[in-house]
């Protein structure tokens, strides 16, 4: 499934455009990361892509079909959204929470059936948190909650996952856990992902393409290793960095090391 944004333009209310004329494309099984400093509108962009906010101009295309022409239940079967894990007002159990992901398949007045429960359980297993099945979402760690939300997204058997900073606020191990699950989903299920992140190193690690956002509607889109360069990071983040190559057991990797704040932004 191919997701494409054409001339995407958005701003709040009557305000100036947060971003204008964004053009990018995510092919089947590709990962796109969206990088940018705080407050530049990364989460807003995700919501525009998903149609939760209306583009001022331009459109999201799914397989060349305008997204707002697709019925919501079909749209949300193909595309799943993983929001940032927040405190819940009514903490449901992990299984109850994951089961909610089956909603696009259920009629207006029906509750999940046994097979839906089984699908939810499989999704929970898939992200490796079976032991938490009946725990309250209020009593698990931030990393575990993030995995719960990913499991919930998987229950609708999506072709595209959209994740909002899935590794923020997590410790090193949990960050890796989330990244590895995303890599696994890409490899085994050919699921495409759009991921907001604060970490250029994570983008270097997992993504094919990167969209870099800066203030005043500046943006860059292209292959990740072509976008994440010392020069671009300095321009968009105001940070002097060095990119180093290193070899691990796993692969030949690029790492970005922040040196100091750049004087002029």
């Amino acid at each position: 499934m191919i997701l494409e944004v054409v001339n995407g333009t958005y701003g709040y209310g009557k305000g100036v455009n947060l971003f204008s004329n964004l053009n990018f494309k995510v092919n089947t099984g590709e990962i796109l990361t969206i990088l940018g400093p705080n407050g530049v509108g990364k989460t807003t962009l995700l919501k525009c892509i998903l149609g939760l906010f209306k583009w001022r101009k331009g459109n999201t295309l799914i397989n060349n079909l305008e997204a707002d022409k697709i019925t919501p239940s079909q749209f949300w079967k193909d595309i799943s959204y993983v929001p940032q894990g927040k405190n819940m007002i009514f903490p449901y159990t992990v299984l109850e929470m994951v089961l909610m992901g089956r909603a696009p398949y259920l009629g207006a007045i029906s509750s999940p059936r046994r097979e839906d429960v089984n699908i939810a359980k499989r999704a929970i297993e898939e992200v490796g948190i079976s032991r938490l099945m009946y725990k309250s979402c209020g009593a698990i760690s931030g990393g575990e909650l993030q995995l719960v939300l990913i499991a919930r997204a998987l229950t609708s058997d999506p072709k595209i996952l959209v994740l909002d900073e899935p590794e923020s606020n997590l410790d090193m191990k949990n960050q890796l856990l989330v990244l590895q699950i995303i890599e696994k989903l890409k490899k085994e299920k050919n699921i495409s992902c759009i991921i907001n992140t604060h970490y250029p190193n994570h983008a270097l690690r997992i993504s094919n393409n990167t969209l870099m956002l800066g203030g005043n509607g500046r943006h860059l889109f292209g292959k990740t290793y072509e976008i994440i360069t010392e020069k671009n990071i300095k321009r968009f983040f105001g940070v002097k960095t060095r990119i180093i190559e290193l070899e691990t057991e796993r692969e030949k990797a690029q790492m970005l090391f922040p040196v100091e704040l750049a004087n002029e932004i």
Partner: protein
């Protein structure tokens, strides 16, 4: 090898846990139903004219199968025309208000709202007060209460309506404003009402009472409350999703605005009907859902039926106290608050208001 064993143990533990939880929930529901029915029978017997349980049972059964009459006509009249309608109405209104409260809490994602939040109840209260002021005929009072209840929700809705659709924050604010406005108008009516005759009736009505419930009230109340309850019952699982953040709920493929509309219509019907029949009864819609949550958890699939059971039981008990503890009837909202407030304080202390941070 060790690892596989550990995993197996984990899984069997989980399955056992699941079975245990399901059994517990089942027991809770059985208990609720048994206790409610028991309470109903006991309620038939207590009151100024006491009747033995056996007689009450026989009278009830005589309506289904022929039983030789061994009781006086007075006893039959008291049971069938006075106590039974009152008990049934108490249970329907208690269950209805609790389910409405739980649904509103889910819809607003806020555990501190009640069915009175949208201005329906005070609108209905104003209608009832006006009806008493203008005529005193019970049919007029009831129909005015329902009309003004609907007027209340319509005002709330129109004030909060924006181009971008329904906004919860605006809805709560508008509901509070409309409620305050109607409360002021109720005060105005009390101020101008004849203090000898009309004023006590209005005050007494607004404090809530089930005394004088007749079979006619049931004909109006039961179908309406049942409609509201059925609407809430069939969408109860979706309420789980509705209680999440709005974008999250939408991203789960749920038609958020339609669900909210269903809940608003259903709770309006329930609250307006309740006020038209027995005045404004506070606390039930706020406190009972929390009690139910403690017993069956947050999942609305179980929470709504549990709220209905507990709510009907609670209002029945409150009404029993109201009609038996003194010679004169004690208004219901006094008792629901006297019993409800300490409980709510206890809850707040125990949880530290923790369920309130979003």
């Amino acid at each position: 090898m060790e690892l596989t064993e550990k995993v197996l143990i984990d899984i069997s533990e989980i399955q056992e846990h699941e079975a245990k939880k399901r059994r517990k929930r089942f027991m809770v529901f059985i208990c609720m139903i048994v206790v409610s029915i028991g309470c109903m029978l006991i309620s038939l017997c207590i009151g100024r004219y006491s009747i033995t349980p056996l007689t009450a049972y026989k009278v009830l059964m005589s309506k289904i199968i022929p039983v030789k009459q061994s009781w006086s006509d007075i006893e039959e009249t008291i049971i069938m025309n006075v106590r039974l309608p009152r008990i049934i109405l108490a249970m329907f209104i208690g269950g209805g208000l609790s389910a409405a409260g739980a649904s509103n809490q889910a819809m607003f994602g806020n555990p501190l709202v009640s069915p009175h939040i949208l201005g329906v109840s005070y609108g209905a209260g104003l209608g009832a007060a006006l009806g008493i002021l203008l005529s005193g005929n019970i049919a007029i009072i009831q129909s005015m209460a329902i009309m003004f209840g609907i007027l209340g929700i319509m005002m709330t809705y129109i004030i909060s309506k924006r181009k971008s659709g329904m906004q919860l924050f605006m809805l709560v604010l508008s509901g509070t404003i409309v409620g305050a406005l109607f409360q002021a108008l109720i005060s105005l009516i009390k101020y101008v009402a004849d203090p000898e005759e009309k004023l006590p009736t209005i005050v007494y009505w607004l404090m809530g009472s089930l005394s004088g419930t007749s079979a006619n009230d049931l004909k109006l109340g039961i179908p309406l409350i049942t409609i509201g309850l059925v609407m809430l019952y069939v969408i109860r699982w979706k309420m789980n999703i509705l209680s999440l953040h709005e974008d999250e709920a939408k991203s789960l493929g749920v038609n958020v605005n339609r669900l909210r509309a269903i809940i608003i219509v259903a709770t309006t019907v329930i609250a307006a009907t309740a006020v038209s029949l027995c005045g404004i009864i506070g606390w039930i819609g706020l406190v009972i859902p929390h009690l139910a949550r403690m017993m069956v958890g947050n999942n609305h699939k179980h929470l709504i039926p549990a709220s209905i059971c507990l709510g009907s039981f609670y209002l029945l008990m409150i009404d029993n106290i109201a009609r038996t503890i003194t010679a004169a009837e004690i208004p219901l909202s006094i008792l629901t608050a006297i019993v409800g407030a300490p409980f709510f304080i206890f809850l707040l202390r125990k949880t530290g208001g923790k369920w309130n941070d979003s």
